[in-house]
Amino acid sequence: MKTLIHITSEKLDPQACLAAVSYPECGGIVSFVGTVRNQTKGKRVLKLEFEAYEKMALKEMQKIADQAKIEFQVEEVLIHHRTGLVKVGEEAVVIVVAAPHRKAAFQACEYCIDTLKETVPIWKKEFFEDGEVWVSAHP
């Protein structure tokens, strides 16, 4: 069975995610893949660690998918998020949206990643050469 809303410490598979939301009714599939950048404000990032309040994070991710379907008339929404240690270049999040037409798919995909960053209880720690920091914790 395909899992549309998923949190895992295993490597994410964008190709499998794309295949999971392919429908004959849908002429537009838009995906967003968030990967680990090698620097933040010029400082070299060695790796990231994601921590999730998994039970609630899955609930909030499902709410985002449900809302995207209502608001943008998309057929299917997949959101996979990685936890644990993630290396530079690896995927941290994969979102795939399938819709009959492309415009709705683009809008819904952007809505999903923007809302995920605001509401889903997942925390990112960046590791630098001279220390580590929880992202966005302080104003």
């Binding site: 994601f50 309040y53 990112k124 914790a137 104003p139």
Partner: protein
């Protein structure tokens, strides 16, 4: 009543552990619990925000906490 508060992210670092048990008056609200935590751990004041979730949902400040509620500290999220 005793309330167990579970922490994630930077809240864990501030508590120096995964959870803390607070002794609160009956009918304490989320705002009361947050205030009690800030009093005990002033570093919480430095965070961009500090929400509380009850039973895996965001709740308003006036939500009244019951003894067996799962109360979780949600510092600023940074997924994606």
């Amino acid at each position: 009543m005793k309330i167990e508060v579970i922490a994630f992210g930077i809240a864990k670092d501030i508590l120096n552990g995964n959870q803390v048990t607070l002794e609160m008056k009956e009918q304490s609200s989320v705002a009361d619990v947050r205030q009690a935590l800030v009093d005990l751990y002033p570093a919480f004041q430095g965070l961009a925000s500090l929400q509380l979730a009850v039973n895996a949902d965001y709740v308003n400040d006036d939500y009244l906490i019951k003894e067996n509620d799962e109360v979780v500290l949600i510092p600023p999220v940074s997924g994606g």
